[in-house]
Symmetry: D2
Subunit: 340 residues, 4 copies
Amino acid sequence: MTKNFTIGVIGAGRIGRIHIENVLRKIPEVKLKAVADIKIDNDLKSWANKIGVPNLTNNPYDIIKDSEIDTVIIASSTETHSEFIQQAAKARKSIFCEKPIDIDLIRIKETLDVVNREGVKLMIGFNRRFDRNFKRVKDLIMSGQIGNPQIIKITSRDPTLPPINYIKNSGGLFIDMTIHDWDMASFQVGSDIEEVYGNGAALIDPEIKKLGDIDTAVALLKFKNGTFGLVDNSRQAVYGYDQRVEVFGSKGCLIANNEPSNTVRLFTANTIKEDNIPYFFLERYIDSYAEELVYFFQILRNNEEPSPNGIDGLKSVLVALAAQKSLIENRPVKISEIDH
Amino acid sequence: MTKNFTIGVIGAGRIGRIHIENVLRKIPEVKLKAVADIKIDNDLKSWANKIGVPNLTNNPYDIIKDSEIDTVIIASSTETHSEFIQQAAKARKSIFCEKPIDIDLIRIKETLDVVNREGVKLMIGFNRRFDRNFKRVKDLIMSGQIGNPQIIKITSRDPTLPPINYIKNSGGLFIDMTIHDWDMASFQVGSDIEEVYGNGAALIDPEIKKLGDIDTAVALLKFKNGTFGLVDNSRQAVYGYDQRVEVFGSKGCLIANNEPSNTVRLFTANTIKEDNIPYFFLERYIDSYAEELVYFFQILRNNEEPSPNGIDGLKSVLVALAAQKSLIENRPVKISEIDH
Amino acid sequence: MTKNFTIGVIGAGRIGRIHIENVLRKIPEVKLKAVADIKIDNDLKSWANKIGVPNLTNNPYDIIKDSEIDTVIIASSTETHSEFIQQAAKARKSIFCEKPIDIDLIRIKETLDVVNREGVKLMIGFNRRFDRNFKRVKDLIMSGQIGNPQIIKITSRDPTLPPINYIKNSGGLFIDMTIHDWDMASFQVGSDIEEVYGNGAALIDPEIKKLGDIDTAVALLKFKNGTFGLVDNSRQAVYGYDQRVEVFGSKGCLIANNEPSNTVRLFTANTIKEDNIPYFFLERYIDSYAEELVYFFQILRNNEEPSPNGIDGLKSVLVALAAQKSLIENRPVKISEIDH
Amino acid sequence: MTKNFTIGVIGAGRIGRIHIENVLRKIPEVKLKAVADIKIDNDLKSWANKIGVPNLTNNPYDIIKDSEIDTVIIASSTETHSEFIQQAAKARKSIFCEKPIDIDLIRIKETLDVVNREGVKLMIGFNRRFDRNFKRVKDLIMSGQIGNPQIIKITSRDPTLPPINYIKNSGGLFIDMTIHDWDMASFQVGSDIEEVYGNGAALIDPEIKKLGDIDTAVALLKFKNGTFGLVDNSRQAVYGYDQRVEVFGSKGCLIANNEPSNTVRLFTANTIKEDNIPYFFLERYIDSYAEELVYFFQILRNNEEPSPNGIDGLKSVLVALAAQKSLIENRPVKISEIDH
């Protein structure tokens, strides 16, 4: 009954290593056969050795061509995702790929066509769905606790600006950062976004303005089922990584607040103090990365359709592109205008 | 140094009575001379007697023409506000008037012209500015604790639908209910709203849809100083009167949560429970009504300009009208399109 | 059906004035006829005039002898309580008296005998029972939500030291300050304290040590029904008036936390901040003073036995005396050792 | 500069396995050479194989005699601790041992004498000191944020009764369960307990009463530095594992509340709900087990004295024995009465 898997991982950067450590430590029934990274330096070698990676290669096709490997985790840079997904699909492997599939709509669709034609499983790494808080919100919605969702509100703010070079290649805030929120919104509401009005500005760093990008954003969403959504983002919340979801419905409301760093309150003559919330995604979401992989192998074992799947990956990019168009044209944009 | 005031109150409905009780009990240096209401029934008589109202009249002009009365509180129905403000202004009285001044832009401007020409003080009853929580948020913004505001979020949800007849005459959700939020948003941000994109639907009651009105609304705001805003409203939050404000800035964030009904938490084998938040505005905002009047007489005494004043009253209506236009045309609308 | 009352108030100090204002403003069906205070200065006169006190006398017997007055509120200094209760009882008046009845056991019993013999109602002003939070705890216990109480914990800390002269005449911390907690403990548990082990020291002010008194105290209680209790007191909690109750039972736990000053949280680069809790009893318990009087006239109207009554007043003093003995002899002391 | 260690673990039950997994996964610079357990069944073998234990033996002396092993972790049953500590000390190994060292005072002292004579390091596994919340409390006390501690309060309640056979051999609640609290109290206050008054009863299970043990306990502590302490325990808090610490001092107060299971709040027409707190120590304290071992190897590396050390282990047992005597004799008992 327990199907075992033999996997290979493509990309051993920050996220790739998290996946590898999670597989080795928390999913021992899965056999890691090889890890590929285009740049094998001493740091990677030493880490791989310590953690127990059996084979390290700089050629991802060593993994894709290995018939013993039945499952591939793709955590390489975004522009390589489509190619590796397609090749892995053609090699009939199950695939877990980091988000986004691609930032080019044509390539995403082409890739999903291949996945579809080959009949392989593809899961996209929207890890926040597996955060214990947001998952609990979803479960409570599904059990009918708040009736029909009517308004969803998502706050997603990073603690600090990334390097300007990162932003230059990020595809813009709506695709780089808000991508998680587009997915979270649809996930929680259980319906697709139909129209988006996105706005924003570079309020923090003039260099971002020069790039034509924004660092502060708000968006108003309409879903197919009638729900409304509000999203706000900032590249720089000086107090930490602010990640909240609220869903208001006909029978109640769910609010998932930030995780605290600890539960200590200090009462003094002047004020009551608490420590700041966890600093960034590695602190806040670390458990969700393990949870999503546990879930991935479970659906493989049960031969079920993964969720989020390739279509979910596509949808989040469609909304991002609509939001970008909305920002430029200062008007609400229907997803159907992008996805013709 | 202490100037005493002799006042008359026009309108002794629910809000009028709150003002009268507050004056009698909490501002004893102010002398209430008379109360006017078009409908003097036994209930009003008995209340007036018990509370100590010296004179009760069904003619508001008894108050406006009384030269001993230097200050008028107007809490009659909305359509009478403009007329009473103008008459009281011409009689050179200081005026406190409930919001909104009017729902007709021409009449508001005409009224403010009279006030301006006569040089009398006019304060508009946006009582929520005097809520201890929202006032604290404003104070902390003013003291620079969060740097420059970048995003403001306001949640304002009523616990239950008003009678359909009330809605019919309300002017629509954006003017009846969101009016407080337009004012709160500008108050906190310290800048005027420049553009609004409002959306909404009748998700709760199909009767409201038939009236062409909405019961669920969201709005995205742009302020002159570059701040963005998100507002959400519902006519029916089954868990109580949900009133929250959040202001995010370059140096921090302020969140004013709901007031609790009590501080008791019950831990059982199944769950942790708290009592619901206070049911409606009389519970939540009762203190703010007293605070705003205390402030009103204080600025009269100091001969200062009241805040919120008539211009603030006008601005909130302008945003409401822009939001309504936005809803109909499904596009962001600049306030300057309304206020030409 | 509605019985009206004509009352007199003896003692117009801080607490007396609170009672008078509450009667005048919140219980209008009760007629205040006279107020007595041994010291009628200009401040009192001006206050009485403003608030609408009809008669002011420096002779409490003007009230006790007035046959029109059916109900007396006693808020004079502690050493006069017994005498005024006895005289008012003999004059067949209903009595509300501030705690404690007396600090002398013999006199308390003598007083209760008179009350009993005359068959009048006597309520003792343990106002904290009427605090919305502690009342809610009691209600939830009574409705069986936590099963049988097993442990009660009470924290009661004042924000600042009273004048040393006050302490000198206070009867000691266990009778002056903890008296409220002895009553609260029995009230919540629904059983009498059987044994107390009290300890403490003067950790804050050496002057208090010189007086043989303590400023920091802890006590361990055993109740007749088997429940255990823990109480802690401090004369100086620099962060404000710390008033909490926790009751743990076989089916759950209830925690009544402090009331917040407001609900605003400030998130900055360094810390999360909230404003301190309300400063002292006038801020925290102001509503409970009105609630207890409303209740008092209600039980008079219904001809019911008040709670807390004279016996409750006696019991709290018994525990205080046992705790003092315990402190001196460093051993647990049974209430029966005091009450022979 | 980085000293590496070769370790053996004696005892591979629940806690032993946690230590082994922590060493293997989180302290990779430490080499695990062997694990000993008196009962090697298939479950243990399969776990050891999966996790990567190199050698499994049923003879603890294989570890103690192995000269390559420089450090021993003892997680076997309590009655074996003294013997293994002594043997490991004689073999000049560094030792980490689970609490308590022993429940017999003579044997503890004998054991500490051997440790002392041999000059080896001994750390006792009071893992709660390494809980992020309680550690934060300690750090804030040390940095002077609350001035001098005056009152400490510890709540420590298990979610459910252990098997009656476990209780039979536990040494009694004050030594089995409160042992953590005696240590926590001294740790936070930074001073030794001088006197304890402990009380309690079997309020939950009459079987426990038959054994002469208690399931509900309270204790009042006096510390050498003048601080007072209150501890309460229950074997059965139906709502989960209730673990809180509060320290009140001359300049403020610190409250470490329970960790939440998640941050989601559900608002409905009837109530506000949150999920219960984590169920038991494996959920609540799992991170603290890793933290204490990380710290252990760090102090070994730096050749520092561990804290908590053997003396701390002794002290907690002394207080437990004093509390037991106190319970029997119903009087406060000085630690010096036990430790003569």
